[in-house]
């Protein structure tokens, strides 16, 4: 009985300490980092250039992607799924202002967040989930002169393609 008591006295503080550490450090909703300069991916022969004539941007996409361009969006499709690009024109002066506003109108869980600079433009990448719909997506928000380009995919296996595509983004009016 005494041994059990001693064991309990040792284990309980350990458990409490573990819970504290988990809550304090490991259960953050997202990781906030300082802006990073993204060096555009080195273009190679497995990539091709897509220039949107309606949305004023150029990206490098893998050769096996096909682009469908409309007036208001671009779909980049592969056999594995879709990466899409839309542009939201805004009256905001910064990406932070825009995200603050749009986040206030959505219920989001943000699993990761990274501030970036892509070809000189302020950007943020996230993995976020709409709590209402359950839809999870990886998204790049790129702020260009009041407009926010949103490049995203809902397919987890395309996250690396999305990274490559989004980080090659250039504004080409």
């Amino acid at each position: 009985m005494r041994k059990i008591l001693i064991l309990a006295l040792v284990l309980i503080p350990l458990i409490l300490l573990s819970v504290f550490i988990y809550n304090k450090f490991l259960s953050q909703k997202y990781i906030q980092t300082s802006p990073q300069n993204v060096i555009p991916t080195v273009f190679n022969q497995n990539l091709k250039t897509f220039k949107s004539s309606t949305m004023d941007f150029t990206v490098q996409i893998p050769n096996y992607y096909q682009a469908t361009e409309k007036l208001t969006y671009v779909d980049l499709k592969s056999d594995n799924g879709l990466v899409d690009v839309v542009r939201n024109r805004t009256n905001f002066n910064s990406l932070d202002e825009y995200l603050k506003d749009t986040d206030s109108r959505k219920k989001l869980s943000i699993f990761s967040r990274e501030n970036l600079e892509i070809n000189g433009y302020n950007a943020e990448s996230r993995i976020e989930q709409n709590k209402d719909s359950g839809v999870k997506q990886k998204v790049y928000y790129i702020f260009v002169d009041g407009s926010v380009y949103i490049i995203s995919t809902k397919i987890e296996s395309l996250y690396s393609d999305l990274d490559q595509i989004a980080q090659s983004f250039k504004y080409t009016p």
Partner: protein
């Protein structure tokens, strides 16, 4: 398929003939349809002015009251809100639709017609086209041209779109389902996209559109303007256009409003009705959030009150530009105690937006592909068509004509997939050309041509050339292949001459390094030489730029041609020559070389030696020089034997000498010689 179509057509016609003689709002009548192509039961009924639709499907998942819905990246099947939705297609569901085998329409709400005669049913093969779209009547409500913007640029400079799934912003008690929250489906059918913003029921135009704070807001069309104010919309002007539509303008400044009364006053199209401001809810808050919220409401129940048709009368003035079904048009819901359905949107602007849609209906439309554009006027067709434009290859040469850039194939299909080539009214086909390209052609021959097969071309009458804007245009009433073609100024290829410089040998042989120069002329009327290409022996084709020095011995075959700036290409010419700079080798010996005794007899002398060459000895020439010029025997080749006289004069103290000389010639004309002597001595002691 044709049989099905015919039966449907006849059925519709019978139904319509019956319907149009009924008094208005006969809700008891029900029609039953057994088949339809590419249409839901619901849409078929709606297209024919029936309010309600009920279908029975054979597919267990397609039974009444269920619909497909996209959920994340998967498709799921949900109970419908009411039993009216028979069809739901969206991109995520890859066009899944509720199949139906029997469709019942009732609740006729078509135009009022009082019967004057006993109805006579006369079937005709005319296809009933269904609901006619309203006449476009709107302009953009600000002076975008003063900002240097085209209509298309300004119209598309959108901050926030009309949400075609749930445009419920003005109806706070109506909530969108969880799966649609935070998403927007816009007029191009981008389903549940990241576009801004969910539930929005109009269009926001802000900084990019030039609608900054204080920008004059203009009436999008003539009508009767009234004022209202709400906390969310701020100062609002509402214009009733007396055609069943009302436009609304929100967030206006409190000053310079055309009226501040709820009683309307008449305004004309383009008249200033207020200024862009930031009253009501704007983001970001304050002046920097200034924008114009522009929306359109239809008085669906025709009671003159637009408020009671919010939200079900909300209309997207961009229409619905997708082959998928418009979710708003088929959304059924109950609001303020009344069963309602969302609205069908039509393009309502009087000016066209480039490539807004591939749909062509009686309202006309503007389509563009590359340097081709088509402008269909209103009533060019009475059908709903899907237009397809496809770039087709350049015509390189056709009866001395050449197309300027690629050609185009344009086709249109009706809802049954039938090709439609003719139109009730001519449309304007404009082809913009590159002045640099046209420079190559005779200006007076620049015409638009048409072809039914892309191979045989005929000129379209009355091509108008606008040489200032570099456009060719024509009025045509059919679809086919089209091309801008003209006769080329320069139809002759250039002429290239190979000039070889070096020590010329025999025939095509050179005995030195050779300089190759390709001299090209495009003639007096030519546009000039573009390039000259050459190929050396079995090498690759290279572009000729400067003379080439050939130093190696051997055989050369030079092929060459030139192309001019008008893409006339010369036939490949060639020249062949050889270089041999090496002399032949020759040596000569005679046996015997001494003739003794000088007894006057003829003695045999053997001609010994040989000649050789790195290529080939062409000829060996022998010559015999007799000191006394008395004997000159012929020698043909080495190994021959000649007879020389063994005699000398008595006073010829150094003896009689025969000198035999041989000269070898190679193919290039290089020569080498050798000589040897036969002596008839004076005495044996010599």
């Amino acid at each position: 398929m044709n049989k099905i179509i015919s039966s449907i057509e006849i059925f519709f016609l019978l139904s319509f003939t019956f319907l149009i003689i009924q008094p208005t709002k006969v809700f008891a009548q029900t029609i039953f349809l057994n088949s339809g192509i590419n249409k839901s039961c619901y849409n078929l009924c709606r297209d024919n002015n029936y309010l309600n639709a009920t279908s029975v499907g054979t597919d267990p998942l397609a039974s009444n009251g269920y619909y497909w819905d996209g959920f994340g990246n998967s498709c799921r099947f949900l109970p419908a809100d009411t039993n009216l939705v028979m069809y739901y297609a969206n991109p995520i569901c890859s066009g899944n639709q509720t199949n139906w085998t029997k469709c019942a329409c009732d609740g006729y709400i078509g135009p009022s017609t009082t019967p004057t005669t006993i109805p006579t049913i006369v079937p005709t093969p005319t296809i009933v086209s269904g609901e006619q779209p309203p006449t476009p009547f709107l302009n953009l409500p600000w002076d975008y041209q003063s900002k240097g913007m085209s209509f298309s640029e300004a119209a598309l400079a959108i901050n926030s779109y009309f949400d075609h799934e749930y445009p419920l912003l003005s109806s706070t008690s109506l909530l969108e389902p969880n799966e649609a929250r935070g998403t927007l489906t816009n007029y191009e059918g981008k389903f549940r996209s990241n576009l801004d913003y969910s539930r929005h029921d109009g269009y926001d135009y802000g900084r990019d559109a030039g609608t900054k704070n204080g920008e004059p807001v203009l009436a999008a069309a003539s009508g009767c303007a009234s004022y209202s104010y709400t906390g969310a919309g701020g100062n609002k002007i509402l214009i009733d256009h007396a055609n069943g539509f009302q436009t609304r303008y929100y967030h206006l400044q409190p000053d310079d409003l055309v009226t501040k009364s709820s009683a309307c006053i008449q305004v004309t199209k383009g008249e200033q009705i207020g200024r862009v401001g930031f009253t009501g809810n704007v983001q970001p808050a304050g002046e920097s959030g200034s924008h114009l919220h522009f929306m359109v409401v239809q008085d669906k129940n025709g009671d003159g009150d637009f408020d009671d048709n919010i939200p079900d009368g909300l209309t997207d003035p961009f229409g619905w530009q997708s082959t998928d079904s418009d979710p708003w048009q088929s959304y059924n819901f109950i609001y303020q105690g009344r069963q309602r359905t969302g609205n069908k949107s039509y393009y309502l602007f009087t000016k066209a937006i480039d490539n807004l849609s591939q749909n062509l209906d009686s309202n006309g439309g503007f389509f563009q592909l590359g340097h081709y554009s088509l402008d269909f006027p209103k009533d060019a067709t009475d059908k709903n068509l899907n237009l397809s434009m496809r770039a087709t290859p350049v015509v390189g040469s056709y009866n001395n004509l050449e197309s300027i850039g690629s050609t185009i194939s344009i086709t249109a299909k009706d809802i049954y997939g039938n090709l439609v080539t003719g139109f009730q009214k001519a449309f304007n086909l404009v082809i913009t050309y590159d002045p640099v390209m046209v420079f190559r052609f005779k200006p007076d021959t620049l015409k638009i041509y048409t072809s039914s097969d892309g191979a045989s071309w005929t000129e379209v009458d009355n091509t108008v050339i606008d040489s200032v804007n570099y456009q060719a245009s024509v009025q045509v009433d059919h679809l086919s292949y089209f091309a801008l073609m003209a006769e080329k100024k320069d139809i002759n290829p250039p002429v290239t001459t190979a000039i070889l410089s070096g020590e010329k040998g025999q025939n095509n042989w050179y005995r030195s390094d050779v300089e190759l120069k390709l001299d090209t002329s495009d003639g007096e009327d030519g546009l000039g030489v573009d390039y000259t290409a050459f190929k050396l022996n079995d090498g690759d084709w290279e572009e000729y730029k400067n003379p080439i020095i050939l130093v190696d011995e051997g055989s050369y075959k030079i092929e060459f041609y030139s192309a001019d700036l008008d893409e006339n290409i010369e036939e490949v010419e060639e020249t062949e020559f050889n270089i041999d700079k090496t002399l032949p080798e020759v040596n000569l010996s005679l046996n015997p070389s001494l003739l003794w005794p000088p007894d006057g007899t003829l003695r045999d002398v053997k001609i010994l030696g040989e000649s050789s060459d790195n290529v080939l000895i062409k000829e060996v020439v022998f010559n015999v020089e007799d000191e006394y010029n008395e004997i000159e025997p012929a020698i043909i080749d080495f190994g021959d034997t000649v007879k020389l006289e063994a005699r000398r004069k008595g006073d010829d103290l150094d003896g009689r000498e025969y000198i035999i000389k041989v000269t070898a010639f190679d193919l290039a004309g290089n020569t080498s010689s050798s000589e040897s002597a036969v002596l008839v001595p004076h005495d044996q002691g010599i």
